[in-house]
Each structure stands twice: as structure tokens, then as C-alpha cells.
Amino acid sequence: MKKTAKIATGIMLVASLALTACGAKNNNNTNEGASPVASSPAASEAASPASSAGAGKKFAMVTDVGGVNDKSFNQSAWEGLQKLSKDTTAEVRYLESKEATNYLTNINQFVREKYDLTWGIGFLLGDAITEAAKQNPDAKLAIIDSVVEAPNVESVTFAENEGSFLVGVVAGMMTKTNKIGFVGGIDIPVIKRFDLGFEAGVKAVNPDAQIIKNYTGAFDKPDLGKAAAATIYNDGADIIFHAAGGTGNGVFNEAKERKSSGKQVWVIGVDKDQSIEFGDDVTLTSMLKRVDEAVYRISKDLLDGKFAGGKVTVLGLKDNGVGLPETSSKNVPADVLAKVEEYKNKIISGEITVPTAQ
């Protein structure tokens, strides 16, 4: 009898643990479900009435190993699809990839279920999308951050260098130690564009500033991001710009710890307005990369019968594909923002050409 009681307690314990875990998970889901994060200008601007244009249409996306809750890239893409679903009643779905072998199988899952459009989110899915496109010439596919040359794939890339130039201007003007850090994910052209643009921006306003760069080699390893940030802050930097997806969460983590011990350090977020997730006390500004907007736009085009396979869309400052969020004004003084605006116009008008990679 005693033993039964013991076991009952044990089971209760396990169950309660499981419950808490599930609870947290559910919260997350509702967060996602509740309208694409308020920051996104598109959400406020396009309060278009829900139509049923997408009824019966099915859209899907496959994440990279970062997963859909990476607070960055993948999450932004999913928000784009959710908005699509809200506006047009189209059915949307995602599958997370646990490891690289899953990219192709996950894409194929949707292709086989005859989804109208399947998104590969991120550079890492380039090879898998190429393969899937070849094997399924009738399927419609799209990819972010990589160019896939196939008649049934629409590719979207961003001019990250332009947006990064602007946050570079912010960092260059606001650093007190004249040392600025950059934490990158994998050393691929996309991230190189962040890197080069940022460097050019810093140098444009503060030629003496030193930039300490660190490529962690991953988009899903917050521990590596934290270690990289610790090294850079220890070297005397006071602002770090990260372009590392989920790895960047570790950068924020490190900054928060330092902040709570009284040091003044900043992080510049990436992809989404990360001040919403990580708070205004450490987030100086963010380099918005409107993956949500891109996903939404291309998917919507398909509903309107305008899917253009083989096309490569490049979204830059002039398309509002990259830029700074409204919330920047909380921590960035007006004169700096004015300077940012000035450079923005110069880039758009072509007066300044921002260096890029490939």
C-alpha cells in the first residue's frame, strides 16, 4: 500500500513537470497565434479586411534547424503565413527540421500533400529546395535567402547590407568605448552581407572605431552566442550587432547579465524587432528583415495568380524589406536617427553604394 502511494506521488511529479512544460509551450503557441507581432509596420498599415481569397488554398513552410520559435528568422516567416491565413482564410502549416536530413523529407511531405506553395526558410534549405524542385516539376516552391534556379521556384533575397549599414551608423555614433562587436551565424553570403554593410556603416560615421567579429558557425546554438558575446564585451566593446538567428539569443542573455551587474552594454537585434522579446534595457535597435512581409507578399501573389517561378526578388531599403523599427526612438537619440534617415535617403538615391557579398 505504501509502495502504491509512493508510485502515485512519483507519477504526480512526472505529470506536473510535463504539465508545466506543456503549459509553457501552449503559451508560446497562443503568442504566435495572436496576430503577427505588433511591431511590424505592415500589420498596422495593411489592416485589409479578411477576404476568403485563399479558401481551400494551402501554404506551408519548412524551418531550418533553428525551429519555429527561434525568436528571429523562422518565427518571422511563420508570422507572415499566419497573417496570410488571417487575411485570406488560406490554410497554413509548418514543419520544423530537427536535422539536415529532414529538410528534403519535410518539403516533400507538403509537396506530396499537394500544397499550393511550400516555403524553404533560409539559406540552408537551398540544396533541398533545388532537389525537390527537380523531382517535382509541378510543385510550386519558394525560398528565402538563397537563389534557386528552377522554373518552379521563386527566390527571395534581401539587401541586408543596406539595413545593416544603418544600424552600423547607430552603433558608430553611440559607442562610448569605440569598440563594437559583430556576432555572425554561419559564414555564408547572407551573413557576410550583414557583416560588410554593418562595418561600412560604422566606418562612415566613426572611422576610428574598431570592430570585433566572431562567426559562431551556427544559427541554433545560444550557448555559442553567449560565449562569443562574453569575449567581445570583455575586449571592451559596448555594442554588439548579431546576425545569428537563435544563436543570437545567447548574445542578449549575456548582455542582460552584464546589465544587471551594472555595466552599460547594448545589443542590436536582427530580423525582427527584438526589443519586444528581449526588452528595451539591452536592445538598442534592430535590423529588421521583413521575412514575414516577403513570405506574405509572394504567397499573396500566388493567390492572385501572379506566381513567377524562376524569379529572384531582392528586397532592400526602398522596398521596406530591411530597416529599423519604430521602437528605436526609445534608446536612440533623435540626432542619431536623423543621421540614419539621411544615410537611408543617400542609399536609396544611389549616392552611397553599400559593399555586399556575392
Binding site: 505529470a15 510535463a18 501552449n26 514543419l95 540552408l124 555564408i188 558557425g217
Partner: protein, 358 residues
């Protein structure tokens, strides 16, 4: 026939079976708490695995590396060594095969076998380092293999980066067709599932491990070392040589997992920041299989099915992939805690006996 029955009624076979059932039940309970339908989820899992030729083929592909790493861990375990380094041996084996696959030009009947052999030797060499340190210096192999995992990861990245990197892709060049071990006609027959010869080699490896350990003198010696090194020494067996040899074979088996993943599935090696987990999963597989070759085969089938089917659960029943990891985790937990299972079994038997008495 009696033998077969005994095989399945022996404690060693019953314990894992009960553990699996308990694990699935715990998983179902957690799904219920989370508000998901466990019946639908398990049905989607089975549908994902057996639903169509493509998914069935991909499941086989997911199982293959687990057989190798499982055998690797089990083999070392039989010699009294705990090889946690299958992960590193996997990477080193893969890297060896990548370099041969990309750099060497040869007809297929030389190229593919050469890549396989070099990969296996590389993995074996990596295992042997730990074996040598144990034999010559008495360093605990648990420590060295774990550390060697990280050395292997970064060595692999370095080698890929230096010798076979395709610029701007974050991965190596594709291996030549002559080195690939894919089975074109079978893949086409199974809707382009990535079927490869590795599967058959995995079965051969199961037979090899059984024949070697239980049917040869030198295998017998290794097992004696595993049972009792002192007795082995007293009986005139060279324990140190045995340790090195066992780690070599164990490493070669893990290396083959990497080789076939490369030559059969990916055909290129990415620069990666973390381990794939196949090596660590191998520990679980060996544990599930009671460190017997046949058990490892079944363990790998279960493990591979669960992890490949996970995407099906998330697709068909909206169960987040985290839950399936809980299911896998609880299966391993129950296997690793045979005491609990034995106790449950004893209670069942007691009750049955009581029933008979009354």
C-alpha cells in the same frame, strides 16, 4: 522453436518491450495533458512511416546510421569500454569519405569502395586514440572519447574548409557520382526516397559483430576482457591489445555510419557547429538492444521509426516535435531503469500467482 520462445520470454527481451510500452503510454498521457489526441498522433506516426513508399524508404534511411552507431557502442561495451565517442568517430569517418569522394577521380568500382574503406579506417583510427590512451596510460575512455568528439567536430570543419569547400555554400563540394552509393533504380521506384547501399552494409555489420564476438577466438578474448580484465590477464590474454583493437573496430563501425550518411544521403558535408546526435543516439540504441547485435538492429528500427515518424505526428495531429522527444526520452528512461520494469513485472507476476492460489 523453443529457443525462439525463450529468446522472447527471457527477461532481457521482455524488459525493453515493457519499457517501450510504458514509454508510449507516458507519451500518450503527456499528449492528453497538452490537449492533443494521442491515438490520432500514433496513427499519424504509423501512417508517416508506412503510409507510402517514399516515407518507408526514408525511414529505412533514418534507421541505417543508428544501426552502425548502435553496434559501435554495443561492441565497445562488450569489451568493457563505454564508447561515448561514436559521434566523433562518425564525423571523422564522414570527413575521410568526403575528401576521397571529392578529391579522387576513379571508376566507381574503385572510388566508392575506397571512400568507404578510408572512412572506416579514419573512424577506427579516431576510436583507437582513446583505446591507446586507455591501454598505455590508463586514461578513462569516457573522458577521452567525449573530448575527442569536439576535436573531431572542429577537425572535420577545418578539413572541409581547407580542402573541399565550395565557396559561399558553407559545405563541401558534392562527391563525384562514382563515389556515391545511392541506388538509383530503387530510389526511383520509391518516389525518390534516398535509398542507399549502406542499409545492406548495416545488416552485414550486424552479422559481422555477432560472428566476430561470439564465433571467433579473438572475439571471445575481447568479451573475456569485458567480463573481467583481471581474469583475462591471468588467462594470458593481452588486455591492452584487446582494448585498442576493440576501440578500433568500434570506431570503424561508427565511422561507417558517417560514411554512408555522406555517400548515400547528403553527398556533401556541411560545416557544422554541433553534433548530429547519431552517435549519442547510438548509446540509446545499444541500451535498448541490450548490447546484442540483433537487439541493436531492433533498437535502431524503433528509434529511427520514432524520430522519422515525429514529423508525421506534428503534421497529422499537430503534436509539437518536443512531445515526441519526450516519448523517446521516456522509452530510454524506462529501459535505463530496468529496476522499475523488473519491479512492475514482479508485481504483475505476484498478482497472477495470488490469483492462481485464490
Amino acid at each position: 522453436m523453443n529457443k525462439v520462445i525463450r529468446l522472447f520470454t527471457k527477461d532481457s527481451a521482455v524488459v525493453p518491450l515493457v519499457a517501450i510500452v510504458l514509454g508510449l503510454i507516458v507519451g500518450a498521457i503527456i499528449m492528453l495533458f497538452g490537449g492533443y489526441d494521442p491515438i490520432l498522433a500514433y496513427r499519424s506516426l504509423l501512417k508517416k512511416v508506412f503510409g507510402n513508399p517514399y516515407d518507408f524508404g526514408e525511414t529505412l534511411t533514418a534507421i541505417t546510421p543508428l544501426i552502425f552507431t548502435g553496434l559501435s557502442v554495443a561492441f565497445a561495451f562488450r569489451t568493457g569500454l563505454f564508447n561515448i565517442g561514436a559521434e566523433g568517430q562518425y564525423i571523422v569517418g564522414m570527413t575521410g569519405a568526403t575528401i576521397i569522394g571529392v578529391q579522387v577521380n576513379a571508376p566507381w568500382f574503385i572510388h566508392a569502395p575506397l571512400a568507404i574503406i578510408v572512412g572506416a579506417l579514419c573512424g577506427g583510427f579516431w576510436g583507437m586514440i582513446a583505446g591507446y590512451l586507455k591501454a598505455a596510460r590508463g586514461v578513462n575512455e569516457v573522458i577521452t572519447t567525449i573530448m575527442l568528439n569536439w576535436i573531431a567536430l572542429h577537425l572535420g570543419n577545418y578539413l572541409v574548409n581547407t580542402f573541399v569547400l565550395e565557396p559561399g555554400k558553407g559545405r563541401s563540394y558534392f562527391v563525384d557520382d562514382s563515389a556515391a552509393v545511392t541506388i538509383g533504380w530503387l530510389s526511383r521506384a520509391m518516389d525518390n526516397a534516398r535509398i542507399h547501399w549502406g542499409m545492406f552494409f548495416a545488416i552485414l555489420a550486424v552479422i559481422f559483430v555477432y560472428a566476430y564476438l561470439w564465433r571467433t577466438k579473438s572475439g571471445y578474448e575481447l568479451r573475456v576482457v569485458g567480463f573481467n580484465p583481471d581474469a583475462a590477464k591471468y588467462a594470458g590474454i593481452n588486455v591492452n591489445k584487446g582494448v585498442v583493437k576493440a576501440m578500433f573496430i568500434s570506431g570503424a563501425l561508427a565511422g561507417l555510419a558517417g560514411v554512408f550518411q555522406l555517400l548515400g544521403v547528403f553527398l556533401n558535408q556541411p560545416i557544422s557547429a554541433g553534433h548530429t546526435g547519431h552517435g549519442f543516439d547510438g548509446i540509446a540504441v545499444a541500451l535498448l538492444g541490450g548490447n546484442t547485435p540483433l537487439g541493436v538492429l531492433f533498437g535502431a528500427i524503433l528509434f529511427g521509426t520514432l524520430s522519422y515518424g515525429a514529423a508525421g505526428m506534428s503534421f497529422g495531429a499537430d503534436v509539437p516535435p518536443e512531445i515526441i522527444r519526450i516519448v523517446i526520452g521516456s522509452v530510454i528512461f524506462f529501459v535505463a531503469a530496468p529496476g522499475i520494469i523488473r519491479w512492475v513485472l514482479k508485481q504483475l507476476r505476484l498478482r497472477k500467482n495470488k490469483g492462481e492460489v485464490a
